[in-house]
């Protein structure tokens, strides 16, 4: 009842004309980002943070959240119509979506993707409503040691699931942490890693880093190939509804996709691409005609698209309740919250209840806006895709420069963005995952503060982490995750040898 009351208050705020406008603009901009190739949700959301600077915190986060899930849907349009996924989560949609488009059923593919995304997103938001208060209340029992151990669980999952090599993921996580230490130490006020550069005393801001890693880095990778070669064809869009015999199949696929996306969204370190790929694999497995997958079956679009949007909304649960971002895009939202003076975590529900429930209510509204907006606008998105990439890239760079500069009205941040772009380019070439670095950059100060506060509480005694039950359980989980990942990282010959020795 209490939750319902909070949610109704949230709707009152979210339905105010200005907040509705922000959600609509966010959905449009997000879809645009999703449509443009080479600009994922993480870079796109970071790129658009500056346009929210002048908004109140509620409006700013409503708009950024709308950009986030708009981008998730935008990638679908290009996957279906031109076989170019706008972001990783939409790769799998190309398989059947583009085949459907070739058969003249692009409208059905987009329609079912929009409906699935709406249902997946709405159910996940409902999950957020139901779980938010109990989880936040449980998290209020956390002191610094529990919080430190919880952050370790989150980071270990991110590192274990990112990329092919555990060492590379670990080292990128450490690089992010070291970046986060630059500037004034939060406990004693001592300057660290500033090299005498005054601007570094304020620390490294996450927006230039994210824009560099995901925006400039991606552009440099694309620049290796001919920029003019990024594509565009034309898909015909007519009816948006599936055939009668397909409706039953769609309902089951959307149902499975919703729950899979929801549960994966709760686990830090997974990403929406995992949700959509896994959901596609499950659909193929349970289907009576798996051989038809890849030839334009409607379940091949419905399930992954539902899962990816359900994931996008469910991933906000650990952020809002525990202050734990599970992916780079969520970490950027967390950074935006912090920039607006709001610390994600259990106290958010106590100290800023109006804000948090307004954002949750706006997620419902945003899903409706996406549904209403996207189908009629499909033609417009296709036209935007016809703009040559070599022109788009110049405008993306202009936005990056404005975004980095306007953070602090300083060209230093543009320099930092370029440096991180180069770093991101090299990391991508060498197969070092960037997600752990972004997450640790944002979580670093909290991780360090909770570690040092814990050790101050115990006067330097490390047993504080093992004598408190919640912290102990969380540390055991961390150890299991690392042990499993390290075992999987071993060469198969070593594993076989070890199994042989045991036998």
């Amino acid at each position: 009842m209490e939750t319902f009351q909070h949610l109704m208050n949230g709707f009152m705020v979210a339905l105010s004309p200005m907040n509705l406008l922000y959600a609509t603009i966010g959905c449009i901009l997000g879809t645009l980002i999703g449509v443009l190739p080479g600009l994922g949700p993480a870079a796109g959301t970071a790129l658009l943070i500056p346009i929210t600077f002048k908004l109140d915190p509620t409006g700013a986060i409503i708009m950024l959240a709308a950009i986030y899930y708009g981008a998730m849907y935008g990638g679908t349009i290009t996957s279906v119509l031109v076989n170019v996924p706008g972001e990783a989560a939409s790769v799998v949609t190309c398989l059947d979506g583009y085949e459907m488009a070739k058969q003249g059923r692009a409208g059905v593919a987009l329609g079912i993707a929009a409906i699935g995304s709406f249902i997946g997103g709405s159910v996940a938001t409902l999950g957020l409503v139901v779980m938010a208060l109990p989880l936040a209340r449980f998290a209020l029992k956390f002191g610094p040691p529990e919080y430190f151990s919880l952050l370790l669980v989150g980071l270990s999952l991110v590192m274990a699931l990112a990329g092919k090599s555990l060492s590379k993921a670990l080292v990128m996580g450490v690089v992010g942490l070291i970046f986060s230490f630059v500037g004034i130490d939060p406990v004693e006020g001592a300057p660290r890693f500033d090299f005498g550069i005054t601007q570094l005393l304020d620390g490294i801001r996450f927006v230039p880093v994210v824009m560099g890693f995901f925006g400039i880095g991606e552009i440099l990778i694309n620049a290796e190939r001919s920029l003019a070669s990024v594509v565009v064809g034309e898909g015909k869009v007519s009816s948006f509804l599936p055939r009668r015999e397909e409706i039953g199949l769609c309902v089951s696929s959307i149902n499975r996709g919703t729950w899979l996306g929801f549960f994966l969204g709760l686990i830090p370190g997974t990403n929406s691409a995992v949700a959509s790929f896994m959901s596609y694999a499950i659909e193929k497995k349970v289907s009576k005609h798996p051989e038809k997958f890849g030839t334009g079956v409607v379940e091949g679009v419905a399930a992954p698209e539902t899962a990816n949007n359900s994931y996008a909304n469910a991933a906000l649960i650990p952020l809002f309740t525990l202050g734990l971002p599970g992916s780079p895009t969520i970490a950027i939202l967390m950074g935006a919250l912090i920039m607006n003076g709001l610390t994600p975590g259990p106290l958010l529900f106590q100290q800023h209840a109006t804000f948090v429930w307004a954002v949750i209510a706006s997620l419902y509204i945003g899903n409706v806006i996406l549904l209403i907006l996207n189908l009629p606008l499909v033609g417009l998105w296709v036209r935007i895709l016809k703009i040559p990439y070599n022109i788009l890239v110049v405008f993306i760079l202009v936005f990056c420069i404005i975004g980095a500069y306007s953070l602090n009205n300083s060209v230093f941040d543009i320099g930092m963005m370029i440096f991180c772009g180069l770093l991101g380019y090299v990391a991508k070439k060498l197969d070092f995952p960037l997600a752990p670095a972004v997450l640790t950059l944002i979580l670093g100060p909290m991780l360090e503060r909770s570690l040092r506060e814990s050790l101050s509480m115990s006067r330097g005694d490390y047993s504080i982490f093992f004598t408190r039950p919640i912290s102990l359980v969380l540390l055991i989980i961390t150890a299991i995750i690392f042990a499993t990942s390290a075992w999987q990282a071993l060469p198969s010959a070593v594993r076989e040898e070890s199994r042989g020795a045991q036998a």
């Binding site: 346009i51 080292v171 004693e188 440099l220 022109i391 420069i401 570690l451 101050s456």
Partner: protein, 151 residues
Amino acid sequence: MSTVDRISWSVLLLFGAFVIYESLQINYYGSDFGPGPGFFSFWLGVLVIGLSVIEIGRSFRSNLPLPADFFPDRTGVVRISCLLGALVASVVLLDRLGYSLTMFLFCGLLLRVLGRQPWWLTLLLTLLGSFGTAYVFRQLQVILPRGILGI
């Protein structure tokens, strides 16, 4: 690939050593409030060195070939250099020339070199990317530098 891996992990090894050195310049431990500001970074430096040593050792045992497209071709290098050069130039010029003029040069150069569009379209897009974006963002109350000419 193993040589490239060896080089990249060696750079990380040096980075780890540098982090340890810097951490030891600040208070590592011993304050009344538990660990000092250099504590966490010191151990992270140790972790980077440990991982680098393991991976350098492993690189001697594997001999994976480099992917065919690992190094960009000549035109790729020219495009990347052009992009980076234009970005660095924008950092140098932004406060001096102001946003609109710097972006005019930035967009003009990149659209001409990368875009190869007709001159009238290049000019139109350059104006849009410089004076156009300056107008829109200033309307949104975003402060952009005006430079010596005040534009």
